[in-house]
Amino acid sequence: MNTRRPLVALAGNPNTGKTTLFNRLTGAQQKVGNYAGVTVERVSGLLQVAGGHEIELLDVPGTYSLAAKSKEEELALKCLAGIGGEPAPDAVLLVLDATQLSRNLYLALQVLELRVPVIIALNMADELAKRGQTLDVAALERELGVPVVLVSALHDHDLGPLLARVGEALEGRAMQLARPQVTLSPVLQAAVHEVAQHVPGEWLTRAHTQHAAHIEARRQAFAAWALLSLEERDELDDVPGNLRAQALRVRAAYAAQGHALDDELVAARYAWIDERLPRMVRTAPTTKPVSERIDSVLLHPVLGFAVFLLLMGIVFQALFAWSDPLIGYVEAAVGWVGDSLRGVLAEGLVTDFVVDGLVAGVGSVIVFLPQILLLFFFIGLMEDTGYMARVAALMDRVMRTMGLSGRAFVPMLSGYACAVPAILATRTMERQRDRLLTMLVVPLMTCSARLPVYTLLIGALYPPTVVLGFVPVQGLLMVAMYLFSTLVALVAAAVLSKTLFRGQAAALILELPAYRAPHWPSVWSMMRQRAWSFLRDAGGVILACTVALWFLLSFPRHEATEARVDQVSVTSEAEARAEQLADSWGGRFGHWIEPAIEPLGFDWKIGVGLVGAFAAREVFVSTMGVVYGLGDADEESDTLRATIKAETHADGRPVYTPLVGLSLMVFFALACQCMSTLAAVKRETRTWRWPVFLFVYMTALAWIASFVVYQGGRLLGF
C-alpha cells in the first residue's frame, strides 16, 4: 500500500442515482474544485472503507458513453483512464440503474475494457421488484467478472457491503482478470488493430495494468474509443495528432468500403448485452409504470402546459417577490453592522472605508444569497424528481429555434429576476457550449435592478396619460421595455449560435428518467454548494469592485467639502456631497466620457450615474440623487423627479427630454452595467475572456441602439 490516499472514481449514466449515492457515502465531507481549464466542477469526498482505508471518492460527470463527444464525456474518460492530467483511479465504483440495465451495461462494457479494478453498485434494485422483475445477480457478476452489489441509494439501505467490496478491490484481493469479451467482426478487429499502434504508450501503463494481457486489452480499448470518438473538429484536447489522423483515415477508408465503423462497434457491444441480458432478467407482465401515468398528465398537450406554467410561475414568483423580504433582512443587517461600526469607530477616512467600502462590499455579495438559495432549491427539486428533463423536452422546440438547449429555459426565466443566480443556474446544462451561450444572453433580460431606473425615468419624463382610451402610457412603456429586452436576448442567442458557437448542435436525444421522490439531503447539498462556491469565487471580485468604486467616487478628497461638512445644514451637506462626487475620479471620468455619450443625449452627470451604476444598476438612482445635490433619494422621490425634469444644459435646453429618457432606458436595457454579473460569468467560465467579451458586446450594442434611438428620434423631430 502506498502512502497516498487511494482514489476511487464514482461513475455511471446520468439519472442512475449516482450523485445521491455520492452524497450518502461522503455526507458533508465534500470538496468542490474545478477541472483544469473547463467549467465543470470536480467534486470529491473522503470516507472510510473496510480495512481502515480512508479513500477519496471522486464524483465523475455522468455519461452514457466514454466515446467523448463533449467536454463532460471527455472528462469522464480522463478520470476513469487516468489520462490528460487526471490521476489514475485505484478503483472505479460504477453505478448502474437496475431498471435500465440494457443501456447502462453499454457504459459498463467500456469501463471494463479499461482494465481498472471495478466494483458495480446496482442501484434501484427495489424498483426492479416493484416492476415485477427479478435479476440473477450471480449470473451478472459472472458475465462481467467483477463484484456486483445491490444497493438502494435513496432508501436507508446498508452501504456496508458495498464499502467492503471497495476495500477488497483496493487491497488487490478482487483483482479481476476475466473481463467480458465483446466479439468484434474481422473487419472491426482489423480496423482496431490499425489504430492501436498509435495509442500513446503513457495511456497504457498504470499500477494495476502491469500484466501484459491488460496492457494489450487497454490498447485495443483506446483504439476502439478513438474510432468512435474522434472527429475533424471536436471539443477534445490532449489527443495526440497522429492518433486522431489515423482514426479519421481508417474510418474514412472503411467507410469507402461500406463499413460504418462507429455504428458497427456500438452494435457489437449491444449484441453482447442483448445476448446475455434476457437470461439474467425475468419480467412478469405488469401494469403501466407509475411514471408513464404521471407523464400522461405532465406531458399532456393542455394539462401538461398548465402545470408547467404554474410551476414556472411559482419559481419566478419566488425569485422575484418571495426573495424580496429576505433581501430586505440582509440589507437591514448589513446596514445595522455599518451603523454600529460608525458609532464605535472615530469619524474619518478609515471609518468611511470600512463602512462604505468593506461592509457595503460584503453586503453586495451576500445580498444575492436569498435568490441563489431559492433558485437552487427549485432546480434541485426538479432535477431530483426528474421533472427537469420534461422541462427540457417541453421547451426544446421553442428554445432550439434560437439555438438554445431546452434546459436554458429555467436560467432565462430566472434572468428576469436577476442575472447572477441565472448564470449560476446554467450549470444544469450538460454541454459547455449551451452553458456559455445561455450565460452570454441572460444578462440582456430585464432584471429587477433595472426597474428602479425605468420607474424613475418613466415617472419623471412621461405624462400619466392614457392612450386608446384605457392604456396608460407609463405602463405601456414598462411593458415595451420587457418585450424589447426579451426580443434582443432571443435574437442575440440566435446570432451567437450561428456565429461564435456554429456547428455544435445541441444534444438530439433526451432521456426522460422515471419520476422519483426527491432526496432532500441532495437538494440541500446542491443549494449549499452553489451558494458557497458563489461566495468563495465571485465574492472576492464583487467585494474588490465595490471597494474600487467607492474609492473612485470618494477620492481625491475635497478640502472645502471636509470643512463644510462640519456645518450641520442638510442642504449644504447634500451640496457638498455633490461637489465631492463631481470632483472625484469617477466624476472626472464622467466628464471625460462626455464626448462619447453626448451623441446618445447624455451629459456628464448622467455619465457619473453610469459609473455608479456599475456597482448595480439601481445605484444609478441614488447616484443621480447625490449628483443633483439632493442627498439620499429613491426612484419614487418627487424632488428627484422634479429636479430631473428641470435640469438644463448651459444654453437653457432641458437635459432630459422624453427622447433622452428612452435612449437612457435602452442603454440600461442593453449595457452590462453590473459587475456582479461579470464576476459570476468569470466564476463559471474560470477565465476573464468571456466576461470581457460579454461587457464589450453588450456595451457596444447599448451604445449603437441608444445612438439610433436618440439621433433617429431627433431626425423625426422629437
Binding site: Y64, S65, A67, T99, Q100, L101, S102, R103, Y106, D262, D263, V266, A267, Y270, S291, E292, D295, S296, L299, H300, P301, V302, G304, F305, A393, L394, D396, R397, V398, R400, L508, I509, L510, E511, L512, P513, A514
Partner: protein, 47 residues
C-alpha cells in the same frame, strides 16, 4: 446509436410531446425523447 437505438431494437412509441417537435419512445425499458426529424430517419417495421 449509443443510447441503444439500433437496427432490430424493439421500440414503442409512447406519445407525441406537446408543441410538436419531439416524440417519446420506449427503448430498452427506458424513455427517450427524440426530435421528429430524427425519428424520420428511423426505418420502423410495424409488428
Amino acid at each position: 446509436m449509443e443510447m441503444g437505438l439500433l437496427p432490430g431494437t424493439l421500440v414503442r412509441m409512447v406519445r407525441r410531446m406537446p408543441l410538436g417537435g419531439l416524440v417519446e419512445l420506449e427503448v430498452r425499458g427506458g424513455h427517450l425523447s427524440l426530435r421528429s426529424s430524427e425519428v424520420g430517419q428511423l426505418m420502423v417495421e410495424l409488428g
